[in-house]
Structure formats: C-alpha cells, structure tokens
Amino acid sequence: MGIAEQERDGVLLRRAAKGDEDAFALLYRRHQAALYRFALRMTGSAWAAEEIVQDVFMTLMRDPNKYDAERGTVGAFLYGVGRNRVMKHLERLPREVSLEEKNEDGSGAGIVLQDVFTPGMWAEQRERRGQVRAAVLELPAEFREAVVLCELEEMSYEEAAQVAGCPIGTIRSRLHRGRALLLAKLEMLRDVPRRASAAR
C-alpha cells in the first residue's frame, strides 16, 4: 500500500510502530536533513552528525510511544532528541576544534559551490568560512546552540526556545553572549594573519 506524501507525521509514526517500513522511511526522509544539518553545525563533524541522526531514529524505532502528540510535533520531538544527543556528544568530547570536513581534494564536506570564483577568491572565501566555522565551534555549547538555531537555521526566538527547551529570554541572552564571543573570536582570527604578515 502506497503512502500519500501529505500523510501526517503522527499517522506515519503509528504505522511505523506497527511495522510499516515505508512509513518509517518516509518519516526518516522528511526529517533527516534538518537533523543532520543541525548536528553537523553543532558538532562540526560529519561522522558525529551521521551517528546522531542514526541514534535519533533508532530511538524512534525502539520506542515510538515516547512521542506524545500533545507535547508537539514529531519534528520537534526528533529535534529535541537530536539536541540531547548533540549535547551528550559535546560533553564527551575534549574541548578542541574539529577542522575536519575535508575531502581528498581539500574541499569542505557538503560544500556546494553555486558561483564561479577565481582561485584567489575561492581560497579567500574558503579561508573566511573556515575561520567562521572554527569560531562557531569554539563557542560554549549553549551559546553555540543559540547561534546555530537563530543564525544558521534561521529560527525565530520562539522556535529556538522551543527546541532548546528554555524561555525566550534565555535564548536572547545566550545569543547576545554568543554573538559577543563570536565577534571577539573572529576579530582575533582576522588579526592573527595580519600580525603574522606585520612580523615578517
């Protein structure tokens, strides 16, 4: 039996709980990308993001009754589980910046080039993005989460508060502090090459 694309998540989840593999697959396809991006932006590691996405859907498979329709959408539930996994992952990690995401040819993993650049422009832009990525990944987890949700995922404060499970005021304050730290780090990263070239 085919599944209509517009079938609601709750219906899909119930069908998946009864053993409908197609329903589970459709649910996965609907939500995996957003979860993966969030995990990737939070951890800076494609491998970790992959593990987190897998873990989230394994949780859903093992215990679909954990989802309570009265508390929100399936998407929000998955985001919440994903967020917990991300935080656990970050807690386990030593405080270091992952500068991976490099393929064999040196390009960043998942980077999609949409414009045509000269090699010089491309290198400069790549360097700048690397600096921003490093600066984001160096932020403490709570501030990083606020920045990722509001600036990278472009969520509203309300949505971000819902995902993070905290009041809007907390999100605002975390974002404020996160921005300040991020600006300071970017300044510092920009100054390093300047100082290095001045020293030469």
């Binding site: 998946a16 053993g19 593999e21 589970f24 697959a25 996965y28 396809r29 995996q32 990308a33 979860l35 993966y36 991006r37 990737l40 932006r41 993001a49 992959e50 996405v53 897998q54 859907f57 394994m58 498979m61 093992r62 960043g108 993993a109 998942g110 980077i111 999609v112 949409q114 832009q125 700048r128 993005r129 921003v132 990525r133 984001v136 920045v147 509001c150 600036e151 990278l152 995922e153 472009e154 509203s156 404060y157 309300e158 809007i168 605002r172 304050s173 974002l175 404020h176 921005r179 300040a180 991020l182 600006l183 970017l186 300044e187």
Partner: protein, 219 residues
Amino acid sequence: MKCEEFEAIGLDAERDASVREAEWAAAREHASTCSRCAALQDSWQVARIQLRALAEDTDLAQAPARVEMRLRQEFRTRHRTLKVRRAAVIAAWALASAAVLMGAVSWRNWRAGQREEAAKLANSQQMAVAAAGNHQSLAPHSAASEDSLVADNEMNDFTLLPGVLPAETDDAAIVRVRMQRSTLGALGLPVNEDRAGEWIQVDLLVGNDGLPQAVRLLQ
C-alpha cells in the same frame, strides 16, 4: 538607549518579536549617534553575512544514504523478530486452547459413558431380579427389587453356580439381593437345613441372558 541595551536588543531587533517598535526606533537612533555601537552593528552585519555563507555550505547537507540503509535493515530485523515472537505466542495459546478443548470433550464423553453404564446396570438389575424371581423362587419380586442394591463391581469371592461354565464377565452385572438361605439350594448350592429359613444378602453375577452365573455371600 544606552550602549548595553543596544548590545542586548539592537543587533537583532527586527527578528525579535518581543522588541516593541519604540525600542527598535530607539536602537536605530542610538546607532546613528554612537560610533561604537554603529561599528558593532557593522561588525555583526559582516559576521552575519559570513554565518549565512557558512550556513549555505551545509544547506543541502543530508545524512548519507547508508544511514537509511542501516535503519531500514534494523527496522526489518526488529519487526521480523517481533512477528516471530507474536506468532510463537499465538501458537502457544492455540495449542493450550486445543488441549483444554480436547480435555473437556474427553471428560464429557467419559461422563456420558459412565451415565450410560449406570443406566445399563440399573436395567440389567431389574432384569436379573425378575429372572431370579421366576427361576429360583427368590423373595417376592416387589420386596426383592426394593431390597436389591447395585453391588460394588469387584469380581472376587464369587462361586460359580453348578452347571455354569466360566465365561467372559465383561458384560455381566452384579446384583445384590436379599433372600432366604434355602434359595441357594434352588440355585444348586448346598444349604444347611437348620438355617434354611434365615434371610441373607448375596451378590448375584447375572449374565447377558439375565440368568445368574455366580453367587457371593455377604457377611
């Protein structure tokens, strides 16, 4: 508006639904008069553009196909195991129900057989009493039937009547009767003349033909 307030709400006032229009206007005005906050706002705008560029790098990112494959595999394994377990439980219940049903039917049949046997025994008892009354001048028929009882089913201590050949006793019935001792003489057994008038209870083994085949004296 002070610089601290501007830092808190001014950088993102247009996206923060809780910031009122008046506060937003005050933030803009503050930025136009305070060079430090204006520079901060500019820096943040640049940083935001860079963040957007970083976001675009991963906007199309999604979990590799192998994740879906692994999850599907796990899903199949999990639900196959569940199905097998469910089938085993159903089979166990079905077997148990069948066993209970068979037991009930067997018990019912056994009970019906018992009842039939009891009815047969009662019939043959009546026939035996009638036959004994006709042939061996037992006690009056009415008295005999009143006094006769269904004896216990043991075949011990029976004495074959003279002229009777040992035969299968499966279909024979045991009938308890009260009669005078002299009646034993009529059945061909030796009787003490002194006690010939004495009333005694005996078990008669009555064959299919309704004739007594053996007798057992009760104490």
